[in-house]
């Protein structure tokens, strides 16, 4: 006897579009929370200092870089540790989240072959985990500012906006690159090299004044240039970005999010076959 009711699942009208994926993700929001929780709890489970490593990691890098730059390159930038750390936090957030999204989809994807889960769960939870780490790592930034006697500015209240734009960009890029990594396994390895080059092409560990003026327009093509800038201005220079500084960041953030989401969801039906 044929069933006259409306099917719960019908393969004929179940095209995964950008919008339905968003709805599915809403239904699985508890899973998102659980995955973030799992990643944070298990990452440092076997280390003695545990979650403290989230703070110690950028702090250590900052100490090395400050030592190198103040002794060998004689930098003139005041409060150089604050300068480095504020840029590093942005960069670590971006690289950690995109890498976690790749491994989440490629390796954790063994689950996708067994049960139905909305595919974007891995990318979004990777961002969630990195975001928690970013918020935690504000603590060492404040400590360094106190030790270095750097001034605190009201403009730092702008930081949540900067983080939101950075998150939009990171999520869009993470979805794009993780999708690519499923179809081309070499992308995961290649991306590590790209990340290193990308970091040195962004003024994070060296002052922007070091860039030759005739090269500056090229550096400004780099979206991460703008992401770092709108995060660092309020902390370091004590002012909110101007519209000329803010709009490129906003454009890259929203643009990448839309492109990444559309690209990722357009391939949704293939992941279970490919991972």
């Amino acid at each position: 006897m044929a069933n006259s009711a409306k099917p719960v699942y019908d393969s004929a009208n179940n095209r995964v579009s950008a919008i339905t994926e968003l709805k599915e993700l809403g239904k699985y929001r508890y899973l998102l929370g659980q995955l973030v929780r799992r990643d944070i709890l298990t990452r440092y489970k076997r280390s003695v200092l545990g979650v403290a490593w989230t703070m110690l990691n950028p702090l250590g890098t900052m100490l090395i870089l400050t030592f190198v730059f103040s002794n060998f390159f004689k930098t003139e930038v005041p409060h150089f540790p604050v300068y480095i750390l504020s840029g590093l936090l942005v960069w670590n957030y971006f690289s950690q989240a995109t890498n976690a999204a790749i491994s989440g989809l490629v390796w954790g994807g063994s689950l996708l072959k067994r049960i139905y889960i909305p595919n974007t769960v891995f990318g979004v939870s990777a961002i969630g985990t990195a975001l928690v780490n970013l918020v935690i790592s504000v603590v060492p930034l404040v400590i360094v500012m106190l030790v270095d006697k750097a001034p605190f500015y009201w403009s730092m209240l702008f930081l949540p906006v900067a983080i939101l734009i950075l998150t939009a960009f990171t999520l869009g890029f993470a979805l794009f690159i993780s999708s690519l990594a499923v179809f081309f396994p070499d992308v995961g390895e290649m991306y590590q090299v790209v990340l290193t080059a990308w970091m040195y092409l962004t003024p994070i560990i060296y002052p922007e004044t070091l860039i030759a003026p005739n090269l500056l327009p090229y550096f400004r093509i780099n979206p991460m240039y703008w992401m770092v800038k709108i995060y660092r201005l309020p902390v370091f220079e004590g002012r909110v970005p101007t519209w000329q500084e803010f709009l490129p960041a906003l454009g890259w953030g929203l643009g990448m999010l839309v492109v990444g989401w559309l690209y990722f969801t357009s391939k949704s039906e293939e992941y279970a076959y490919r991972v």
Partner: protein
């Protein structure tokens, strides 16, 4: 259903279809044809040599499962049984044909796939529940049941890596069956745990069945299938070979295997 001599099919003739497969085919790309690097991709695109060789895991399968039935699948390894379960549980989209499902499906994760070894049993219960699509409240409501059923006692607070494989399997089964689904999918799970636990699993399955759930199961244990199922389909090289009463299908299958 109390009369074992009755023809099992007739019991469900008037029941509505809960799963409908219409001319379903599924093709996989062969791994050798998978393109690994950009270079390869670019070269092949230029040479127009991207030929995708398809392997048809299922070809033109049409069948209906009735509401409340215990439906079994038999076939050799690689015949397409697991692919069929995946198509039904929304994991794979069929390459051709149409799948319609009229109820909520609870797939059984293979023995706690998705468990994290460093997390405690308790934490894994919630993580696994979330993977199956349940909310926090839904998992809290059945948590005590899960601990009871899996007989883990105090071990529920220890990391899963300290568990024996039996404890692992028991917890996996307990989580997946904590809520009665409208359709329960079982892929080779009844062969796990000791005999006492297997009996317990069977009892739970029977209670689901009596409460009106539909069960879809794959197993190599032919005797078990014959006694538990109302109907069986035999899948051979991706095609539907025979479908009907368990004793008929199993007999035909055994004959071919002999």
């Amino acid at each position: 259903m109390s009369d074992p001599q009755a023809d099992p099919i007739n019991n469900f003739e008037n029941a509505p279809d809960i799963i409908q497969l219409d001319n379903v085919s599924v093709s996989y790309r062969l791994p050798s044809e998978r393109i690994g690097t950009f270079k390869e991709y670019a070269i092949r695109t230029l040479q127009r040599k991207i030929r995708i060789e398809n392997f048809w895991a299922l070809t033109d399968i049409s069948l209906q499962v009735k509401e409340g039935e215990v439906f079994g699948l038999v076939g050799n390894n690689g015949a397409g049984k697991s692919t069929m379960l995946k198509v039904i549980s929304k994991v794979l989209k069929p390459s051709k044909g149409r799948v319609r499902v009229y109820g909520k499906i609870a797939p059984l994760l293979e023995l706690g796939a998705g468990f994290h070894p460093e997390l405690s049993g308790r934490e894994n219960v919630f993580l696994n529940g979330a993977l199956l699509g349940y909310s926090r409240e839904e998992m809290e409501a059945v948590f005590d049941d899960i601990v009871d059923f899996s007989e883990l006692g105090q071990f529920i607070n220890s990391p899963i890596r300290t568990y024996s494989s039996g404890m692992y399997a028991r917890l996996g089964f307990a989580v997946a069956t904590a809520h009665m689904p409208e359709i329960l999918i079982l892929d080779e799970i009844l062969s796990v745990g000791d005999e006492a636990f297997q009996r317990k699993c069977n009892q739970r399955m029977k209670s689901f069945q009596q409460a009106g759930a539909t069960v879809l199961m794959v197993s190599h244990g032919l005797d078990g299938l014959e006694t538990m199922c109302d109907r069986i389909a035999w899948i051979d090289h991706g095609k539907l070979r025979k479908i009907g009463a368990p004793q008929d299908v199993i007999a035909a299958y055994r004959e071919e295997m002999a």
